[in-house]
Symmetry: C2
Subunit: 475 residues, 2 copies
């Protein structure tokens, strides 16, 4: 058994180790070795997201991992935001480089010099490209596997449009993709928020984020999309001629689903004291077959397990037959820890009757005829729906409201708290500072399509509230 879920921090460390997801002994702080049982799921998450991006007319590209300092320094806010947290390449072979290179912390300054070359006229717009890969940030806070690392697995999409309206529509589409992948497929609920001005991406006009709530009540940002306005377009001279021949700067967005963090949320939200629970949609194997031999009937059971395997093979359902020399009980325990959605048990009785015992990782067992293994994909969808409902129930029960400072103070450690707040423009920054200093919490922003206050007062300063914002402690 793992530590109780109520001690989330210990549970998380234990599950990473016991389920063999990462090795933390690599010799560079914040850099993980990600083992197959985690990385297979991460690959599946990438594939789901790439499919959605391509459906939304994004095409895949490969940009270099290194950015010359001269590109990196072009947008003033951007370099100010990032220069303290990048890795610098200064030498190659036995030579000192003429120009230093940055290991990309994000790729705006790699993509946009090319966008300036590629975009000439309105026919070149919209331009929508994405790259799946890795970025590196010299994180100075304490690192935590998948949650706060120096080598981050993510996807970034960089889009350019003729108008601000189209760019804002893309922000909505980005959030809709997050709904389809993160919530619908992976069962991870989140709030879609507009971040306060003091917490936006360096160089953006506005930042929008998907925040989920971890088992310890702290908010975790799992995807962001940024309305870049024309800031980078101006810094990199990305212009186009419209159909009347007039030259304008493009309007840009960039989108970053954080694959490392989505995986962290998947592990954290769905797991239990027995271990992981992987959604059927992304689990490397959907079902494990455990033969339960009885003395004198070993051959019968083995042959029948083979028959079950043949059937699963024919159905195209990824599976594993556990014929190791552990006891059945140990096998149950092991595959529960690994989070495989279904387990099939077959003994002499099942062999005789042509049935299997089908156990769900979410509880419950039933005996079904061998032919009904064809219902596994359907049962898998039901399994994922059940996981999603559990996670939604947890999420909803950790959303609070407060209408006073005292109430906020009382609730803020437990989840995300909705409060009336004076302003998420820079005028609200003083109130934010008080929340930050006294409650060690963050103003996560207002909901994308949330209601507006009708006369409520800011819980900090008492001035008229312009927004309802969500406040939480964060990762």
């Amino acid at each position: 058994m793992l530590p109780p879920r109520s001690n989330f921090s210990e549970w998380y460390s234990a599950v990473l180790k016991e389920a063999d997801l990462v090795d933390l002994r690599y010799g560079v702080k914040g850099f993980l070795v990600i083992k197959p049982w985690a990385f297979k799921v991460i690959k599946a998450i990438y594939a789901l997201y790439e499919k959605e991006l391509e459906r939304d007319d994004h095409a895949p590209v490969h940009f270099p991992a290194v950015i010359p300092e001269s590109y990196f320094a072009k947008e003033k806010e951007h370099i100010k935001g990032f220069e303290g947290e990048v890795f610098w390449i200064t030498h190659a072979g036995h030579n000192k480089l003429e120009e230093r290179l940055v290991l990309r912390p994000t790729s705006e300054t790699a993509f946009y010099p090319m966008y300036a070359l590629w975009i000439q006229g309105w026919r070149d717009l919209p331009l929508k490209l994405y790259q799946s890969g890795t970025v590196w940030r010299y994180e100075t806070k304490a690192t935590r596997p998948f949650l706060r690392v120096r080598e981050i697995l993510w996807i970034e999409a960089h889009d350019a449009f003729a108008t601000h309206e189209e760019a804002l529509a893309q922000v909505e589409r980005d959030m809709a993709m997050a709904e389809r992948v993160i919530r619908a497929k992976l069962g991870i609920p989140f709030l879609a928020l507009r971040r306060p001005q003091w917490d936006k991406f360096a160089g953006a006009e506005n930042t929008f984020a998907a925040d989920t709530i971890m088992p310890d009540g702290r908010a975790l940002q799992i995807a962001t999309t940024h309305d870049l306005g024309q800031h980078f377009a101006k810094a990199f001279s990305i212009t186009f001629k419209d159909s009347s021949g007039r030259e304008s700067h493009v309007w840009q967005t960039c989108y970053g689903p954080g694959i490392s963090r989505i995986y962290a949320a998947l592990v954290a939200l769905h797991g239990d004291e027995k271990g992981l629970i992987y959604p059927y949609a992304v689990s490397p194997i959907k079902v494990v077959v455990v033969p339960i031999p009885r003395k004198g009937k070993e051959g019968v059971v083995e042959a029948y397990a083979g028959k079950v395997a043949e059937r699963l093979e024919a159905l195209g359902i990824p599976f594993f037959v556990d014929t190791t020399d552990r006891t059945p009980g140990n096998k149950f325990f092991y595959w529960e820890l690994k989070g495989v959605p279904f387990r099939i048990e077959v003994g002499p009785r099942e062999a005789e009757e042509g049935t299997v015992v089908l156990a769900s990782r979410l509880g419950g067992k039933e005996t079904i005829p061998l032919e009904e293994l064809s219902t596994l994909p359907e049962r898998g969808r039901a399994f994922d729906a059940q996981l999603r409902e559990r996670a939604e129930a947890f999420f909803t029960s950790h959303l609070f409201e407060a209408s006073s400072w005292e109430e906020l103070e009382e609730k803020v450690g437990r989840g995300m708290v909705k409060v009336p707040f004076c302003s998420i423009d820079m005028d609200g920054v003083e109130c934010y500072h008080r929340i930050k200093e006294e409650l060690k919490a963050e103003v996560r922003g207002e909901e994308l399509r949330g209601e507006k206050p009708g006369g409520e007062r800011c819980v900090v300063c008492g001035k008229e509230a312009k927004h309802f914002v969500w406040v939480a402690k964060q990762y």
Copy 2:
């Protein structure tokens, strides 16, 4: 039209540009921006290879892109071979790092410290893991897109075994995977060679490589696999206890299909003066539909093109209907340049008859009933077989034999030349130097299962030949 294929260097540069495969204007030498029409095929090649590796019981992992200098320096031959061609990270944020980091040029020294921790007993063997990704080498020679770059797309598989025999059997399996992916699926022929001792991977016992021949007659290495012996096992203390409790070092192999170079070979070998020709197996779209309207019949043709599209959609065949305002002739020209295997033309006559004109990028056109679009995948396989045969015919016609220095000298610029050679152990290095200096060519090694000389004499020194070796100018 592109430059003639006989001027391969110009043809290659032109097709990269005209078919919009890369942008060479990124501000760091040897680092490509790879555009969607190339990168989609590269992704497909990765997927094919990953599938083969997983069928061969390899599991995917993620290792960091940075290697601490202390790891990197552990195997003496290895660091000697690589230290002149790595990028060094020396600073992060505003700090100088305590230990310099290497941007991985290959990952032996990242994987093997972990292998020492993971491998304890014989039950932990074999260990077979792979990583798809990028490595970086500070290439000092002239760079060439995909052929010689500083950011290399590849896959690396690192395997550990209990015995040398098992390791050598893996070398054979690695070459068999290359056969299945590179030759069978992508239609790229190659020779499987054991490299001379003076040309092996830094730290290996023996290097084996797949070499293809480019249109200019020069050899291109597209995959390598290395018998590492116990060199790294000793440097990194990777040991296991066998079933009798005796401790031994593991035997290792590492395998590197070079995805950048495989893509280069695919472009170079299959293309013609009209442009690219993509194999059906990896082409981003399998067929382009070009409506050929006639005055007064625009609506009929448009509706029928829609019907064709519906049918292709239902069949799950990736396609594109070109409804841009270019002329049909320009559209033909454009999609031929892009290398799409099939083109469907539909005009009023086809609409009336319920047929389509189906043209192959390899030549030939026929009119088939709409229902027969279901034969496209089968036609695609035949298309790929035809491509492969063309490439094999080219390849075979560029394999020569020579039994004297003069004959070698005469043929070596035209392809790969098989000659009797004294020795590919270090005793042959003098003869190699003469080939290198006087012919500007390389000894590429002996065939993996090739015949042995029966009394022939080395074409260089005239001593008894131990091997037939292939000599060629190289990329």
